[in-house]
Symmetry: C2
Subunit: 294 residues, 2 copies
Amino acid sequence: MQLIDGKTIAAQIKAEIAEEVRQIIAAGGKQPHLAAILVGHDGGSETYVAGKVRDCEECGFKSTLIRFEDDVTEETLLAEVRQLNENPDVDGFIVQLPLPRHINEHRILETIDYRKDVDGFHPVNVGRMLIGLPCFVSATPFGIVELLHRYNIETSGKHCVVLGRSNIVGKPVANLLMQKSQPGDCTVTVCHSRSRDIKKYCLDADIIIAALGVPGFLKGDMVKEGAVVIDVGTTRVPSAETKSGFRLKGDVEFDEVAPKCSYITPVPGGVGPMTRVALMKNTLLAGKKSIYGA
Amino acid sequence: MQLIDGKTIAAQIKAEIAEEVRQIIAAGGKQPHLAAILVGHDGGSETYVAGKVRDCEECGFKSTLIRFEDDVTEETLLAEVRQLNENPDVDGFIVQLPLPRHINEHRILETIDYRKDVDGFHPVNVGRMLIGLPCFVSATPFGIVELLHRYNIETSGKHCVVLGRSNIVGKPVANLLMQKSQPGDCTVTVCHSRSRDIKKYCLDADIIIAALGVPGFLKGDMVKEGAVVIDVGTTRVPSAETKSGFRLKGDVEFDEVAPKCSYITPVPGGVGPMTRVALMKNTLLAGKKSIYGA
């Protein structure tokens, strides 16, 4: 069994990005610039955005944080999005989710210029991903595919079972892994809350991507010998062993499953760090105008 | 075994559309208007477009056919697309594919205003379909889902095996059937040219959607008793029994498979007529501004 070390891979990728940014700037190019809109003071969102700002520093990007209070109107937010769309210095930007209830999230996301949509949530990027065209791939699917790539895990012709059909993980990663690409070329099965006999599909799987958000869902008796298991779950569960009183638990019952696997991601330290670096990768692509041109 | 009669269902839908158009016009509303761009004189394309014009007449739509010769430049075609985007009388339009090689098909399709993209090929419509938002669904996936709906075929929790991963059938229909919707809520497996042991997946399937384009691919010994089989294949094969010297053959070895099925579509007369009526349905939705508003 080999542990997939997302933390180390993410650090490597970040170093690669920082090196490329140094070269771009040394050659007189433009420093990539990521902006983030943060609404309100949700603890999780604060932490995520602070992490993104720090990541930008480490990558050599310029970053701008734009804050609004919880009671911001949809119109004000849309106006800010339009301003960022038109600001030539901003290469990419994100609107940190979730947004307050009175704001139509889809409307905000669809107003972002897809050429600056480094979160990859705009329908143009989602659609191009399905079609197989160059696009900004969203963070978690990018992280998963990149881990498979960096560990040289063979995917072609393998049966990949995706547990979960969310818009941010299950559906996009299923679509990526069925593409005529490398990693890709998998036979893909998507299971979800309405699926029957999930165990049967899992037992047949060469690769399992667990993204149900149900801690410890995947047990040892649901996995065949030699499987590759990617755990996307990150549920806070109470813990007596940590200062905070909780710890992150994945969708996989790690102790039971790991001994049977050829490769497995831990939680934390697997997919998580990769999702963070995905935004940096997309910001670099946006800065270089690699996907949609100038 | 019940034969799924796409021809009759398509005629019903067309009659429903025509009735709705009569009511719209009687109430002083605008007659829906579909435009089609046809490049060159490819026999298949000529036939398809002529059929679309005829369907428009039967539905009570206005239709406009715009023709270009094979040597039309991409710029001229893009200019025409932009003109149709801006023409307020045109509710929806299509560019008949395939286009000559010197023209970038994706560029043409992405220039179409997604609010008039009644073929449903624009990334915005593809992306919104994946996300589960209202959109123009492309013809064949629409036709398949509508057949399942009109025959009240239970899909929730069923295992649906999709054979093929094309952008116009396999991938979109897989995404539609895994959605939290009705029809939908299937456990979906997508198999393709790189899949191993397709027979194993098929034998486990409650619903098989065969869209590989390999005539007679699905044999009797690959289907379990009671399965629902949707045959999307339409390959021309030589035939001594027809005047033209050929006939359409599906991806399913019908004589072997049909006796085991609870439902099966014939070729021709199954999915085919439904794909034609899908364009009419989308044109009606475009005329009513049902999806993207005024």
